[in-house]
Symmetry: D3
Subunit: 130 residues, 6 copies
């Protein structure tokens, strides 16, 4: 259960409604997912985090799907259940297939294993990489 009551659109103060409106307009959707309804209890956080997401997840040198898959990789590594669900959904909406997700998870798995092997064996960084 959430720490605070979720802030629904109808009951939201104007400064929250305007963020909700921008989320729906930017994403071309007609509903607000719970992450934002939870943050809305503290409007400066809602505005700040939406600003971060809007800027960082927009296509740039990396396309939007690649960004979503990177986001999923981090969320799986940290085991954030909400983030896995929401960003796997976003990635699928942008074209990620089952096969792509399976390969993404395989890379995440191997990287998590090899991170510990590199640490445990105390491997010195090669000069060629510096």
């Amino acid at each position: 259960m959430p720490m605070f009551e979720l802030v629904e659109y109808a009951a939201a103060p104007n400064e929250v409604k305007s963020v909700y409106d921008d989320i729906m307009k930017t994403r071309k959707v007609d509903w607000i997912n719970n992450f934002w309804k939870a943050l809305a209890v503290h409007p400066p956080t809602l505005r700040r985090i939406w600003g971060n997401i809007k800027l960082v997840m927009a296509p740039g040198a990396l396309d939007a799907l690649t960004k979503e898959m990177i986001y999923v990789a981090v969320s799986v590594t940290n085991d954030c259940e909400y983030c896995m669900h929401s960003h796997m959904a976003s990635a699928r909406a942008k074209g990620m297939t089952d096969e792509m997700l399976a390969e993404l998870l395989a890379v995440v798995g191997v990287a998590n294993e090899n991170n510990r092997l590199a640490n445990g064996y105390r491997v010195p960084v090669d000069e060629q990489f510096l």
Copy 2:
């Protein structure tokens, strides 16, 4: 300093040399980086981990560069210094520009922040994502 002495090619037993040869042939390079020289102290681990990498990092439904960037995202999240250096180098060799790396790191940063906000606010997963 490494936990074990690195196993150089010239001094390697044949079962290690054959893995080293396959690494260099597969990657079209003429040297072996320290990760493999450290694992080589235990040949079953060397063979197993190279088999994992060879299978998982090869292009498939995801291209090789996207896989390298996902690997970097995990390694930054876990702060594996060796892995960051070696896989940023691999990603650059496959075409990652400074701008792409900066955007990758921005997504990693935002995902790490939002993972904790989703956890700390105990956000319930939306039905739409299930």
Copy 3:
């Protein structure tokens, strides 16, 4: 579900009851929360962990509320659901408002993001900080 059956007061051996009594007396409460009932299956762990908490969470150079908020910050970073719930409750009982919790979570979020940026950019520590 817990790994072991919870040890209720009525059924507890004397060495467990005496720890339960000290917990209730120290905290001025009349019930034992599940964390202790779970640890009680192994009395040396129960005694040791209660001793740690009793010593470390008592007011000293830092007041008790600041300590609870630091505990929450760690628990959110590690995503320990039990610990978040129990220590947010303790912090609220000591005076943490909704606004303070929202600011605490914002700092936790920003720190988790910036930790990865500092690592990913491999920022060298300034001489001024050493």
Copy 4:
């Protein structure tokens, strides 16, 4: 060594200089620490992260020192060397004594231990905390 060359003030483009100026003015200092010089390679990240820090670390319902200590607690949990050094320095500048730091680290240690005990024993959350 940093991933990119640090951006010194004299060599910085105007959009970077204006952020550097705001950092120095806000903090009442006359130098820029390496974190910002590293991020400056990508001005949108520099601006965004400085905006986050400026907003979140300012005194509000929590005072600035408490916020710095929460930041340190997260950075120690994640083992971010740069962040520990820089934010321990900030906390000391705002009044944190050796005794306060030692107590902060003790709470961080105990929370990290108890997080794993709560997880490992699979302790069910008490109804009183919900």
Copy 5:
């Protein structure tokens, strides 16, 4: 809920059935646990991960029970609920008693605390350990 539908034996393609058969034969059991049924959506991952487990968890210089307990220690540190449950069950089947589990969890707890103290106090590694 799982990301993909679990692949039951009766409905599995032959390449999956042959891995399932090897799992049951190697472990001398007559059922397949959900981890494998989830991975089976992507047969190369199923084969690879089973190959890793079959090789690494077999008794060698370390006996099978010690390996299971090390696996549990990692899973508790990372808070992987599925892995804790499945490998605690495996460890119990190989002889782990309640007392042994309680001691294992105590070591995991203390190590997690002391890891942060060593980091937070920035303890230099003694020459005697190098």
Copy 6:
């Protein structure tokens, strides 16, 4: 560099000396490693952490070597450099061979990978494990 000056035996106050003496007597060694010299800046932490270690790492239902290896597994997972070095040294002193260490690291690697696969695939816990 350490956060505080290390407390050498000759310069230590009596309450620190008595802990140092107990460490050397219990471990049958004639020197104090840096971890304790760092904690000694805050004697209540020194006493508490030594009490934890003395109790938890002593042989019981698990032998002392198994406990050291579990400690190493956690420290590698968390990448605590000091703890890896000191507890690998302790484990070697208690009989851990190179082969045993290599197998331990292999289990740590596989567990870290599979923890993420179990999370990423959201595998439901089998009834048989509950």
